[in-house]
């Protein structure tokens, strides 16, 4: 029994790691969403973190924890001058500006010869382990759980629901929005640093627009109103392809398209019928049962 369990663990080890990394990335989009801001710069921040971390261990021979610190710190520092002008924009304008930022980062890396341009960096030492990734997720969730229901948590919710009204209550919304952008950047950068040392390689095209779309989808499908929603979403949508690969031959659809089809349908159904995400499903079912 124990042996079977450990076999199972070995088989799905990498999946577990990806769940954790994806959870951190989803959380990086979530923290801005928690105060109503659709900021989609996370792919760019993750790229900065991945490259900073990889260069730190490979070129500067820094110890891994220090490299990870750098992975989180660099994007966080970049987020400040980015956020000050960009956070004045509202709704989709903010989304577009941050997408533009992400693309500029990606294209900058493509054009940077020192890091092999579009080929990216390979043979990065594998230093990130499952427990480190899990620890990062756990610490993040703990901090977010302590923010919820606190003075700051209420301020974030107030900004999300009605920013001008929140401001008349003395809540400096710009500072909160900037803080969440910086936190999101640090989380994305950390995830990037972990990913680089988990998959041994980074390339700019792994951090394009579709990557940040994935992060947003994790957050929304899991539920963007509660801090554990994005983790549930990342877990669900990272495991789903593994399941679908088994199912694909049975339904006679190629695994690639099937995965996209199911992802698209899940996202559509969630946004239409479960706007608070999968984590709200139990409550909705209970309400449904109590209603008639």
């Amino acid at each position: 029994m124990l042996e079977q369990l450990s076999d199972l663990y070995l088989t799905y080890q990498s999946t577990l790691g990806y769940i954790g990394i994806n959870a951190l990335l989803a959380l990086s989009v979530y923290v801005s969403l928690s105060c109503g801001q659709l900021a989609l710069g996370s792919a760019g921040f993750a790229a900065l973190g991945a490259y900073a971390g990889a260069l730190a261990t490979m070129k500067a021979d820094l110890p891994f924890p220090l490299a990870l610190l750098l992975s989180a710190l660099l994007p966080a520092l970049v987020a400040v001058p980015l956020g000050l002008p960009v956070l004045r924009l509202k709704g989709v304008f903010l989304a577009i500006a941050t997408i533009g930022f992400g693309e500029v980062v990606r294209l900058g890396l493509v054009n940077w010869e020192y890091v092999n341009g579009a080929q990216g960096i390979v043979a990065i030492p594998q230093k990130a382990s499952i427990w480190m990734i899990s620890l990062a997720v756990a610490v993040t969730l703990y901090v977010l759980s302590r923010v919820r229901g606190s003075k700051w948590g209420f301020a974030l919710e107030a900004i999300r629901e009605d920013e001008p009204a929140a401001r008349t209550m003395g809540i400096p919304s710009t500072r909160y929005k900037l803080a969440m952008l910086v936190l999101g950047a640090a989380l994305a950068g950390l995830a990037g640093g972990l990913e680089a040392h988990f998959t041994f390689m980074v390339a700019p095209n792994g951090f394009g627009f579709s990557r940040v779309v994935d992060m947003l989808v994790f957050a929304v499908v899991g539920g963007a109103q509660l801090f554990w929603g994005p983790v549930v979403g990342a877990g669900f949508l990272t495991v789903l392809p593994e399941v679908l690969r088994e199912v694909a031959p049975l339904v006679g659809i190629e695994p690639g398209p099937l995965r996209m089809l199911v992802n698209g349908l899940v996202l559509l159904l969630v946004i239409l019928y479960l706007p608070a995400g999968l984590v709200s499903l139990p409550r909705r079912l209970r309400e449904r049962r109590a209603a008639p």
Binding site: Y142, V143, R146, G149, S150, K151, W152, F154, A155, E157, A158, E161, D162, P164, A165, A166, R167, T168, M169, G170, I171, P172, S173
Partner: protein
């Protein structure tokens, strides 16, 4: 006695339209000051100017001698101004208590570290804040509705939660924009008593209201606005007798 709030020649135009056109008046500390006038007279615009949601295009606004015209809303709130909204703007997904907790923002000083380390002091601070919020809700007559989501409350209840939320910051100046709109007479009585009580505690109230009876009952002084200009000012009795007011406002309503 020096004025708590003083407006001098305040102007605000939208495009070519002057919603507030050179308004000047003062609100004394510890008084209830009524602001009345026909629809479109510029009352709500004026409240928005004082609370910072709009910047004046001319004139000056002083709070306790300090210029606040054009400051950002959080700055003005920190100087002691709180408000309610004509079109209720509670946070609909939050409970009544949590709405009031948001209103306490300026009065709470918890430590993030203490909260992360699960320290006793953090728990006590949060508990005290929750109790203060519940007490405020009881004070506006909603002791049983503390944990109800704001969107599930009745119209009159929502207005009262808004007042409690505004009081939570212990403002020196409370701006009430039609606090009794949509309320039944019993609820209106309750709000009238509450306003008097709040003023007795030393807060000043600037009250925009369509309910003439209420204004006459609770206000110490009244300013009448029409087309963005002050057309009359004085005690309720003096204003009620002013021929300009009768033609512009009371006359048109009755």
């Amino acid at each position: 006695m020096s004025a708590l709030l003083s407006l001098r020649g305040v102007e605000r135009s939208f495009g070519g339209l002057r919603a507030v056109d050179g308004a000047s008046f003062e609100v004394e500390a510890g008084t209830v000051h009524g602001l009345i006038g026909p629809n479109g007279a510029g009352k709500t615009t004026l409240i928005n100017l004082v609370s910072g949601l709009l910047a004046p295009t001319g004139g000056s606004i002083h709070l306790s001698g300090r210029a606040i015209g054009g400051l950002a809303p959080p700055r003005i709130a920190a100087l002691g101004v709180a408000r309610t909204f004509q079109n209720i703007r509670l946070f609909p997904e939050l409970t009544a208590r949590d709405n009031v907790l948001v209103g306490q923002h300026l009065r709470r000083h918890p430590s993030l570290l203490a909260r992360l380390l699960l320290l006793r002091s953090a728990r006590d601070e949060a508990q005290a804040a929750r109790e203060r919020a519940a007490a405020l809700l009881a004070r506006v007559g909603l002791p049983g509705r503390v944990d109800e989501q704001a969107r599930h409350l009745s119209y009159g209840e929502q207005r009262r939660v808004e007042i409690a939320r505004a009081l939570a910051s212990q403002p020196s100046l409370l701006l009430l924009d039609e606090p009794t709109a949509g309320m039944n007479p019993v609820e209106v009585q309750g709000v009238a008593a509450l306003i008097r009580q709040v003023a007795a505690e030393g807060h000043s109230v600037l009250l925009v209201e369509h309910n003439v009876r209420l204004v006459m009952d609770v206000c110490d002084r009244i300013t009448v606005l029409n087309f963005g200009k002050v057309i009359a000012e004085g005690t309720p009795a003096a204003v009620a007798a002013d021929p300009a007011v009768i033609t512009a406002y009371l006359g048109s309503e009755r």
